[in-house]
Symmetry: C2
Subunit: 549 residues, 2 copies
């Protein structure tokens, strides 16, 4: 089969730009430069797919190509199941992926139904056709460290030293995210090859020959207020305590080793190449040793906490495992969502992203300039956009991601629409976001962990979010189950809108890009976050329970 | 507190008829003539509520009263959480009730969150403001028996004898539903008071002094092709086998005793007044005896099956309990959904209902005539509408329910809209339906039990249904969890539209009342039902997977 590649340029394959955008983004998700395993329709995240099977993919393409501007195509877990007449304000595509009735929402039942050809795993942006490659994880990590900088270090990491471990598929974004924020970073990985891969792609600056050499380099950069990332080969369960003993002046500590799975975390005294065999042969003994090591690792992290460092769990469950390993102060530091992301969510901030349907990188460069022009006061945004322009290699259609909040997303969307209208851009822009956003997900182990009012598991919000976007003029809207954390553990929604330069698109964008983040602000108002109440107030959002009779 | 009663007539309290309709239907759901426990905001179905608490109710009323015609109010489990600017084709209200992330979708977790004030149980039409009282269960039962008549007896039950048991809250609709279909009915209940209550409301014609007398009366009516319902006091586990032995020429057998709960089904040899005490004292012994009795009861039902009778399980789980009681042919007869309701669902048929905002019963009488005029060839519909007009006492705003299918609902809705426009009706009509409908529910123990392709637990469909109605012009749209069968066991969606006589309403009604049942037809096409394929074909519904490349 020919590799799939989205059409570029201004020639329409479909009957309008909204349909064309869905068609191109579906195909772009399966571009070999974007997808992990395009031959299996897998985009990312293990088995997150763009279409259920090849007949479904072909029917999706066929239907999008012929869909009228007042029709809507329905997609049920990656398969088109109908076309209905709606109206021009309605989405052109409505998507529901991987959803199961609660009592059946388990991996075994999901796999059984998948094997019967009745469903597929949509992850977040795989089945909703707005994945843009690894830029997403880099930006998310950048944003987290920017939030740390904002909270404790006056808005920049310049002059700070971050200590972390785990330089794998996700964790490997950490060194670049820290240096993009101006900081120095020491990153430990037990596997030299992982560090070398990140040096090759310029995510990591250098690998030190020894712990001492690494510390020297990193501390020099810290003192000189220079960005620098330094890799050190070794086991975090040994080296983090050692760094604590050495009294290294670390400001920030986190971790992205594969701690969520005690058969993946390498216990001290075990060589990485022996892990697979040992874990398979003696899983219980291995687990016990891994948890014991994690207890030592987390004990040292708490040691840094006690010395005043900013310490957080980066979503790998290392606190829980360390507690099982016998360390009882494991939960002395918080998870990253309650600590840094939730305050952003309260402002309606989240992973705003867009792609250029022209295929022309110059269009993204122009939108980058527009963003800088629109939000000149936002220093962290300026830093990200500038460095992303230099460092991020596009995968598939040129795209950009940055976090914008209530009152900003609509501004950006309307500006892009003007730029399409006045010819500054070569073709329309699609504007979407991750399902991991302020008001679009219920996921008690991640995005909605430890909500102030205890509403972690309430799933009304992502459903309302999808309904609101459908009612506001989005081009396609999706409701998924299980993304990020697995079947049974989350429900989330997505929207994508098209800036095609028309006045109608402007009206739609104004509503969608106001209402979509507003769902997040309102969700946090309802949960009792004062920041959200403030943002709702200044954005003029109407909150019925807050009004007097 | 003053009892709540919806305003009547043409004077608007709100800023438009869509908002006014939502306001009146919310209030109507809590009218003491409609609601089970209005003081607790409970409408029906145990704890199905219209609003989360009194402050929420007041905020809903306040917000609906001021809502602009291009604004949308968001309701999260019975509480208004925001108002956003949308557009005139968008719903005025979007509702998500009782939804929980899968792993947390249990009664204990739900109760915990409810106690924290974070959610409420919305049932189906309680939290979505379109409950119309007990007419619903009567019509549903009527429709089931009409489907039995259609399948086996040439479209009428005249000349047939139906044997059933259980004359309680739901089961008590059976005798009237059978006679409305022209049939004779023998109904057994162990509790004389239950039969007497139904005689008082004219749902049951007579109570016989003995089994023999009851049989004589019923068989006479059967031979004379006269509708007649006869109650007999006794235990079904004894009397059903006795009737089999007697060789009574029964045509149809079913049951609505409280078999779903083995502590409610009265074992043979136990007096109804001793049940509560005995079940509480010795629950295990009681359960064993009840299951043993159900085994005898179902064994006799299968005996009738073997003699050629039409036999079905009416959703009370008696087959499963009888199997546990040791009878191994319990599943020899089918459940009512696969047997009778699914064929209707394949045609997009379901519980279409409407209410007159004027409050004037004459408006419903006029719509009844319109329905008869529109569908003169539908004999069972004619019979229902005629008898309902004579027998059904209105509760709250006058309302009517009848099952209509693909291509019929839109005709009815448009006719009602014309009748509002030309002044035939005193005020606008709201048009909605139960969530128990052809394309709006995933519920593996009831509506989607035993789907042909095994897709019982796939929950994408009700979510797509809600999105489609939102995209088609409905006035309010809802997504609920757990209605009918409990938390963790179902996901379902509702829509209500307003016929206010305007041209815009006509355009919206044409789309919503076509697309809403179409979701059901498409769902059954996808599951492999040929009837649905045929209906989709004649309705001109586009099915992408069925089109050639
Ligand atoms: N924000 C989030 O919620 C979020 C996002 C992504 C990943 N994660 C979590 O972060 C973790 C890492 O994800 P990934 O995709 O990078 O995993 P990965 O398996 O690709 O990488 C894990 C890395 O940890 C290293 N490692 C294992 N044990 C070690 C030890 N004792 N000392 C030093 N290094 C060790 C491995 O060599 C490997 O390079 C996972 O637990 C994942 O669930 C969370
Ligand atoms: N279509 C559906 O899916 C559907 C709808 C409604 C009710 N149901 C089921 O139907 C059943 C009845 O519902 P209900 O609300 O009428 O219940 P209910 O408790 O109000 O009535 C049950 C009746 O059964 C009688 N009864 C119990 N044991 C008996 C015995 N051995 N012999 C004769 N009579 C006996 C009781 O006296 C009582 O009148 C329940 O199991 C319910 O779940 C199913």
């Amino acid at each position: 089969m020919e590799p799939i590649r989205a059409p570029r340029g201004t020639q329409l394959t479909a009957r309008g730009w909204q349909q064309e955008a869905a068609l191109r983004m579906l195909m772009n998700n399966l571009d070999p430069d974007v997808a992990e395993r395009p031959q299996d329709l897998v985009v990312y995240g293990g088995t997150g797919k763009a279409a259920r099977d090849w007949p479904s993919f072909r029917a999706l393409v066929r239907t999008l190509t012929t869909l009228a501007p007042d029709e809507t195509m329905l997609v049920q877990s990656g398969r088109p199941v109908g076309v209905l007449q709606t109206h021009e304000w309605a989405p052109r595509v409505l998507i529901a992926n991987s959803n199961l009735v609660g009592d059946w929402a388990t991996w075994p039942e999901f796999r059984r139904l998948e094997a019967l050809g009745l469903t597929m795993y949509g992850q977040m942006t795989a089945g909703s056709w707005i994945y843009i490659g690894t830029q997403g994880i880099l930006q998310g990590t950048y944003e987290t460290f920017a939030a740390v900088a904002e909270k404790r270090f006056g808005g920049t990491l310049a002059g700070t030293l971050t200590l972390t471990a785990g330089c794998g598929g996700m964790g490997g974004a950490q060194p670049l995210a820290v240096t993009m924020n101006g900081g120095a970073c020491l990153i430990i990985d037990v596997d030299r090859a992982r560090l070398e891969r990140r040096v090759a792609t310029r995510y990591l600056d250098v690998i030190a020959d020894s712990l001492e050499a690494g510390v020297r380099l990193a501390v020099e950069a810290q003192i000189a207020r220079q960005p620098l990332s330094v890799g050190v080969v070794g086991n975090a369960a040994l080296l983090v305590p050692e760094l604590l003993r050495m009294g290294v002046p670390v400001d920030i500590v986190t971790d992205q080793t594969s701690a969520h799975d005690p058969l993946s975390y390498v216990p001290s005294g075990v060589e990485p190449e022996d892990v697979a065999d040992y874990a398979a042969r003696k899983p219980e003994e291995f687990t016990e040793r891994a948890r014991h090591s994690m207890a030592r690792h987390v004990e040292a992290m708490v040691g840094f906490l006690d010395r005043g460092a900013e310490v957080f769990d980066y979503g790998n469950s290392i606190r829980g495992e360390a507690q099982l390993g016998g360390f009882d102060r494991a939960f002395a530091f918080p998870g990253f969502v309650p600590a840094y992301i939730r305050p952003l969510f309260c402002e309606g901030r989240g992973p705003f992203r867009w792609a250029a349907l022209s295929g022309d990188p110059a269009d993204i460069a122009a939108t980058d300039r527009a963003i800088l022009d629109l939000f000149p006061e936002n220093e962290s945004l300026r830093r990200w956009i500038t460095m992303a322009g230099e460092r991020v290699a596009f995968q598939g259609l040129p795209a950009r991601i940055c976090w914008l909040g209530q009152g900003e997303r609509d501004k950006a969307g309307l500006r892009f629409n003007e730029m399409v209208a006045d010819g500054t851009l070569g073709a329309p822009i699609v504007i979407g976001r991750d399902h991991l956003d302020t008001g679009s997900v219920a996921s008690p182990y991640r995005e909605t962990e430890a909500m102030r009012d205890g509403s972690d598991a309430i799933a009304d919000w992502p459903l309302l979010n999808a309904l609101v976007n459908t009612a506001s003029g989005a081009s396609w809207v999706s409701i998924h189950h299980g993304g990020g954390v697995g079947i049974g553990r989350s429900i989330h929604a997505g929207q994508v809108s098209v800036a095609d330069g028309t006045e109608l698109a402007a009206q739609k964008l104004a509503r969608v890009l106001t209402n979509d983040p507003a769902m997040g602000v309102l969700r946090h108002v309802d949960a009792g976050y004062e920041d959200a109440v403030e943002v709702a107030g200044s954005a003029g959002l109407r909150v019925p329970m807050g009004e007097s009779a």
